[in-house]
């Protein structure tokens, strides 16, 4: 179809996608954003709490305030976008030609593009994935669904709530329910430590007298039509319920805040290799996947706690797309592998080029205090008063340091 040829197509109009599209447009690349939702903005539209933009704007904004700045920029730059545009498949035709099939109200489009920046965000884990059997009743929501119900549509999901998971999303939802007059009976966390920021433990639980049960799991949901109670049990070191420790908590609502998983279905179909640790694609420092010219950013790459990181990744992918288009591909070079050392659960990107400084994002496996984040190959280390699985470590690896290394770069956390 004539006219539908782009340099860059951004799939997903959340923060990562909008940031990427702004940058590629500023670089003069012909860019199109495709968003399946009714509006641009992604998940931030329903996050009416503050905590957005602290790094990027050095201001504490709500989700909608934050994203509005990007949408305004998109409009003023005249970036082309379609909403209600669902991308159903991607086809790799050749290095400089990818075909994207899109379904929209009224038409079906085939779009040709040189590069793709894939920023479709994440999906939430639900009760079955975290092994909660029992009755298939109403009153069980993922945190995001409950949040959208309340904050976008003014619907109260329930009145007596048990939250599963103490990550920031779970904590924020606990407070959200409390603010609306619901009784939050408990936050249940399977790990021996809370998943969220200390600040949120205080501001979302302590301030509202909401109990947090660590090393506990919801093992069953009971009810006839709607949730009537949950069965909670203590867990052992292997996170298995300890028989005899079961106890029931009466409630009418269960909110599952058990983490997010990158949404990479279309990439998987293309055969893009996925990192089992991040559950997003394996990428180089231009955030290019194993398929030339397909870049990923934001929660589709790795689950970010801060929207600012999603935006930063969007911008890095935009740089990658520009380089790709200018050079007809990211040329072969000597890639260094990022290796996960002691107490590192995941790290992104997976390969670095040495062309430039690189922002590394990593998460630890377990919490520790007064440790060093070290990279033996470069001799660099950074003191960290605490590391927490919930808090992503962001570290800028200098170009000069990379050039000192040969084939791998190890990240580790240790006592000295």
């Amino acid at each position: 179809m004539a006219g539908l040829v782009y340099d860059v197509v951004v799939i997903g109009g959340g923060p990562a996608g909008l940031a990427a599209a702004i940058k590629t447009t500023e670089y003069g690349l012909k860019t199109l954003v495709l968003e399946q939702g009714e509006k641009l903005g992604g998940i931030t539209l329903q996050c009416i709490h503050p905590g957005f933009g602290i790094h990027y704007f050095k201001e504490d904004l709500t989700g909608p305030e934050f994203i509005y700045r990007f949408i305004k920029k998109i409009e003023s730059l005249g970036v082309e976008y379609y909403t209600n545009a669902y991308v159903e498949s991607i086809e790799y035709r050749s290095i400089m030609e990818k075909k994207i099939s899109v379904i929209m109200p009224g038409r079906v489009l085939d779009i040709t593009t040189k590069t793709i920046i894939y920023t479709t965000g994440a999906r939430e884990r639900h009760r079955y994935e975290i092994n909660i059997p029992g009755a298939n009743v109403s009153g069980v929501y993922t945190a995001g669904e409950a949040q959208a119900m309340m904050d976008l549509w003014g619907v109260m999901p329930g009145k007596r709530v048990v939250i599963v998971g103490s990550g920031d999303v779970g904590l924020i939802m606990a407070r959200r329910f409390a603010l609306e007059g619901a009784r939050v009976e408990a936050v249940i966390e399977i790990l021996p430590y809370p998943g969220g920021l200390t600040r949120n433990i205080v501001q979302c639980l302590k301030d509202y007298n909401i109990p947090l049960y660590l090393s506990h799991a919801v093992v069953e949901i009971k009810g006839r039509k709607r949730v009537e109670k949950v069965v909670v049990a203590k867990v052992n070191e292997n996170l298995e319920p300890i028989p005899g420790t079961e106890r029931e908590i009466e409630c009418d609502t269960v909110v599952i805040a058990a983490g997010l998983i990158p949404q990479v279905r279309l990439l998987e179909k293309l055969g893009v290799p996925i990192d089992p640790a991040t559950r997003g694609p394996i990428v180089n420092d231009y955030l290019e996947t194993s398929i030339p010219g397909i870049f990923v950013a934001g929660n589709a790459l790795v689950i970010n706690d801060f929207v600012d990181y999603a935006v930063e990744q969007g911008e890095q992918a935009a740089d990658g797309a520009r380089l790709f288009i200018e050079n007809k591909g990211i040329h072969t070079r000597k890639w260094r592998r990022i290796v996960k050392g002691r107490n590192i659960r995941l790290a992104v990107p997976h390969y670095v080029s040495g062309d430039k400084d690189v922002v590394l994002y990593a998460r630890v496996k377990w919490p520790e205090d007064n440790v060093w984040f070290r990279i033996p190959e470069t001799g660099r280390k950074l003191f960290m008063p605490k590391v927490r699985p919930a808090e992503m470590i962001r570290y800028v690896l200098a170009k000069d340091d990379i050039l000192k290394t040969t084939d791998k770069i190890t990240l580790e956390v240790s006592g000295q």
Binding site: E88, P105, G106, H126, E129, G134, S138, M150, R226, R265
Partner: protein
């Protein structure tokens, strides 16, 4: 000449198959009464979905069951085509992992011969592996039954309901029969939560509750026990899948634990077979132990099973297990007009069409039936954009823009399909449009995210189409609303 008023209790696969067959006759006025808001929500919704080859039915012990299984199996070839019910015929394998199980294969082989089932054969290790590469290398032999089929049972229920209604039958939803009313040794109707409904014949196809209904008509010949079966469904992207229907060697209680790939492409494992107390007829919960049991059984016959984190759904169904073990299909002379179609346990799904003709014959012996001149055997399912090619998509999206608005991302279900489902629900008489009703018709919310993205969007569509507040949208009937009220309302109450 007045019509004979036939009232069928229960809109499961049995009641609806009967409704379809009886809708062929001019002089019958067919009404189906269902306590749930939709069709097929009893045993019909939660089972293994297999059209059995019937080599596991013992014609000495349960002759009627064996006969109806065989006839039903063959009728489904025709019915699935006429009614556009998703079906496939992959064949099935019983996998033996030790000598005892291997000798069980011989038993079923001989039943297969006696029942005249086509193509049943014992296969050795090598052929077993060729038929099903993912079978455990420890397996020593298998029994191959090539005629086994798999269908979408809820789609079947919906299709039967739509077809019956288009041929003049009626369905009354959210109507629970309390008792059968008998006067002067004849049935005259049923008492329901919505009042008395007159009838000349009452067909009891109430599944797990059929014993209670029968007793209320004065027939106390059997008891129905709930026997629970639990299942897990995996994400469609798992590597380990089966091409055939595979199961462990049956025991006296069950046909074994099955491993199948559903019509939607998901790996399904189950069921358990657990006898529940008689008062647990609504207990459809899954349990840790149940899930553990089926996964271990599956491990025995598969090379490996996918990780637990790939499970996207757990569910359970209740088999209506009759105390006699046999199907109870009888026309009573006293009270005249009462018909039991009870104890329709496995292979009830397979047998249902044959059961329907069997019931028709019992009625025909007592009333001369007049065929309708214009009975329409055909029904078409909802068009799914996800199954169209690019040209078809382009055309339909242009005709109706709502096909271009994708609501469920995992299963690629459009707004038009959801609206169509609502329309069809209303057409068969559904009063409460439920999220479950939409789910089983469109497959929205069926995918790996289980509705965490789209459930809200679908609830919004129901709210708009039905003009009800969003929070009042129902999952599965009264008492299972989407929310509890408007935000801030909680404060108003105190």
């Amino acid at each position: 000449m007045g019509k004979t008023r036939v009232l069928i209790i229960g809109a499961g696969i049995t009641g609806l198959s009967i409704a379809r067959v009886l809708s062929m006759y001019e002089n019958l006025d067919v009404v189906v009464v269902e306590k749930e808001p939709d069709v097929g929500w009893g045993a019909t919704k939660a089972n293994t979905a297999i059209i059995h080859p019937c080599h596991e039915e013992d014609p000495d012990k349960h002759p009627l069951r064996a006969k109806l299984c065989l006839e039903g199996h063959d009728l489904w070839y025709k019915w699935t085509k006429e009614l556009d019910i998703p079906v496939k015929w992959p064949g099935e394998l019983i996998v033996a992992t030790n000598d005892e199980e291997a000798s069980a294969l011989k038993h079923y082989l001989s039943l297969g011969m006696r029942n005249g089932v086509a193509g049943v054969r014992i296969v050795d290790k090598e052929e077993l592996a060729a038929l099903e590469p993912n079978v455990n290398p420890n397996a020593i032999a298998g029994l191959w039954a090539p005629t086994a089929g798999q269908m979408s049972p809820w789609e079947a229920a919906v299709a039967l309901a739509e077809n019956s209604v288009s041929n003049g039958a009626r369905i009354l939803f959210e109507t629970e029969v309390k008792r059968v009313v008998v006067r002067e040794k004849k049935v005259v109707g049923v008492e329901t939560n919505n009042g008395f409904i007159e009838a000349d014949m009452v067909i009891n196809a109430a599944g797990i509750h059929a014993d209670e209904i029968s007793r209320s008509a004065g027939i106390d010949e059997f008891t129905i026990f709930p026997r629970r079966g639990e299942y897990v469904i995996y994400d469609e992207d798992v590597d380990i899948k089966v091409k055939r229907i595979v199961h462990t060697a049956p025991t006296p209680k069950t046909k074994g634990v099955y491993v199948t790939t559903t019509l939607e492409g998901n790996l399904l494992i189950g069921p358990t077979a657990e006898d529940l107390p008689i008062d647990a007829k609504e207990e459809k919960s899954t349990t840790r132990n149940g899930i553990k049991y089926i996964l271990e059984a599956a491990k025995k016959i598969l090379k490996t099973i996918p990780p637990r984190t790939k499970i996207i759904r757990m569910f359970a169904g209740l088999r209506p297990e009759p105390s006699t073990g046999s199907f109870i299909i009888k026309f009573y002379e006293e009270p005249w007009g009462f018909i039991n179609v009870a104890g329709i346990r496995s292979p009830g799904l397979t047998a249902a069409p044959a059961i329907a003709y069997y019931v028709r014959d019992m009625i025909a012996e007592r009333t001369s039936l007049v065929e309708k001149r214009k009975w329409n055997p055909i029904r078409r399912g909802i068009k799914r954009i996800s199954r169209m090619n690019q040209d078809e998509k382009a055309r339909i999206v242009k005709e109706n823009p709502r096909y271009g608005r994708i609501i469920c991302l995992c299963k690629e279900v459009s707004e038009a399909e959801i609206i169509e489902a609502i329309k069809r629900m209303k057409a068969i008489g559904v009063k409460t449009i439920t999220l479950d009703g939409i789910k089983f018709r469109t497959h929205a919310m069926f995918g790996r995210c289980q509705g965490s993205f789209c459930r809200l969007r679908i609830a919004l569509l129901i709210s708009r189409e039905q003009d009800i507040p969003l929070w009042k949208v129902s999952f599965k009937g009264s008492g299972s609303e989407y929310g509890v009220g408007e935000v801030k309302e909680v404060f108003k109450e105190v």
